[in-house]
Amino acid sequence: MALKRKIKQFKWHRKHLLGLRELSAEEITFILDTAEGFEQISTRSVKKAPPLRGKVVVNLFFEDSTRTRNSFALAASRLSADIIEFTEKSSSVSKGETLLDTARNLEAMGIDIVVIRHGAGGAAKLLSRSINACVVNAGDGYCEHPTQGLLDVYTIRKIKGTLEGLKIAIVGDIAHSRVARSDMWAMTKLGAEVIFVGPPTLMPTQASRLPVSVCYSLDEIIEKVDVINMLRIQFERLGGNPFPSIREYSHYFGLTVERMKRAKSDIMVMHPGPINRGLEMESEVADGQNSVILEQVTNGLAVRMAVLFLVNQAAAQKA
């Protein structure tokens, strides 16, 4: 009760959401609480609320994305904002216009919030230093994907009640995963114990200095964990040959029906999507009763509404 009151008094002050590493547990909880309030808008017959009316949100995407981009677009539209879609497949450099110039041009059109997805770690931070609009990071290289991290902890909190004391495994290509990093920051700040699972070739450098434990065997931890988040193998990022074959990877790190038999009966199975069915996860598991994959997508909407709402509010207060 004391904590609840404390959070009620809490004042959000960030006009950018760049990553979860710099957020406190209090700030993360505040976003989740705010998202809870927005969840019911999507169940109404008129699925719209007015807080961003007259505001312009730009979806500035330099990498392929369907679900994150659509989720942000829908979140913005439910809050009555106008949305500009800016999709540039090539990197800014090869196109000849720098990222900053692109953003400054958009800003000159009078935008309020930039949602950016970019292949380079730090791209969102770079943008936030150089323009006046709010910046929301929708994934920068393999640094962070904060709204994914938030929707993951939101989903866990909704089902389990709390993250305190939970054991959570994140399985797959940790080295190249922004989801793993954002999850790690959010989950550990909220009191969960995180285990990175995958082959040593897909572990980040000096993982020992991260607030997680590392395990190279899925079989070793499958019985112990309350939540398992299966990362997508991102062939476009892998580079080199970190495992000999897909077959061998699935053999050791795939979430199969067989492995699920040994898991806790109430284990939550998560995946940031899109799934490579049969690779990280067998279809029966993805569609099974422990899977919360589609709930993650639904919750993503409420979380992104909360984020857009909060950064806009902070900007308005600063102005």
Partner: protein, 434 residues
Amino acid sequence: MNPELLIKNGRVIDPANGIDKKCDVLVVDGRIAEIGSIEGPLASSAEKTIDAAGKLVTPGLIDIHVHFREPGDEEEETIASGSTAAVAAGFTSVVCMPNTNPAIENETDVEYIHRKGRKTRKTHVYTMGSITKKREGVELAEMGLMTEAGAVGFTDDGRGVQDPAVMLRALKYASMFDVVVAQHCQDDGFAGEGVMNAGYYSTILGLPGIDALAEDAMLWRDIQLVKKFPPQRIRYHAQHISTAGSVELIRAAKSESLPISCEVTPHHLLLTEECCAEYDTNYKVNPPLRGAKDIEALKQAVAEGLIDALVTDHAPHLQSEKELEFLAAPFGIASLECALALYVKALIEPGVLDWPGLIGLMTAKPAKIINIDKGTLSKGAQADITIIDPDAEYRVDVNKFRSKSRNCPYHGWTLKAKVEKTIVQGEIRFSAGD
């Protein structure tokens, strides 16, 4: 003829000759004529007298590792702007790296650099040639003809020679000309697409890392080549070493008296990988900034006398390029204009070196690596002299740089030791306050 210049009452430091005393320096006909107490008619006949009381009078400083970007990238730096910056920083000789566009790979290219240097009339401008054609690491460039044209060494700087057979061939071939072969030690296989040191910070920043092993592995390999196939007159120089591993390798190699030298930059003595935490591209440099332990090892190496030269690796870049994403921005730090004060901060203030030790690493020792007759105040030597105010404090302001570029992470730092005057061949080419 009358002496043209008399420098009175300075603390004269000439490490090559073991001199560190308060005295005068007399210059006649562009050369050092006398060091000692100069009085009477000889003193009064000097055309110009400089009072250097409270100042250091040293051989002109030498930087054997700069990038002046000419030919090809004159928007970043030219030999004119670079050597103007250099002379203001107390340097009287600089060695340009050959990774220009096109690379310096024949005697015409070498002569071009020299001509531009002479025309600017600031510092002596030397150049190294590339080891391999187009710096591709495949076919040897014309080392002999370039040496004849005055190239003072060879390197593919910007990258290392990857193929061990090519490197061995280069070492053997260069030994015919008694010229140094310098290596940017970095194994591309290990380094991959890395943009900063591989470690905790690259992990949390989500940036690809360059493991320290990339440097250590190539240096180890090169030392084996020098050891196993020692033609006479072979000379190998490890450029900008940055790791504790390299220090260990150099220590072992030197204990075997192998013909190996090495250099270190101010940024590898002062800055760590942690500086990259805000994605400030002014800290993006190759070899990358490492950890505190590496800095300690490098300082220890300086203290033990394992390091043969202090260099800047002055690498100017346009602001517009450095404004890019950390992943996309070019490597390089422009530090020429505050170099001396940076070494003071890194090495003198913590007591690693005294002034004669520091000056030695910026004069006679680098001169020896590239085998030029400079870096001393010996009688008869060319009068390249730097006068330093060791106690003057100043704030680094990139907007006052004479260099064309501003990619300097030391902007706003308060540093000690300022260059008062720089004299090249007896001529005052820089005077503070002018």
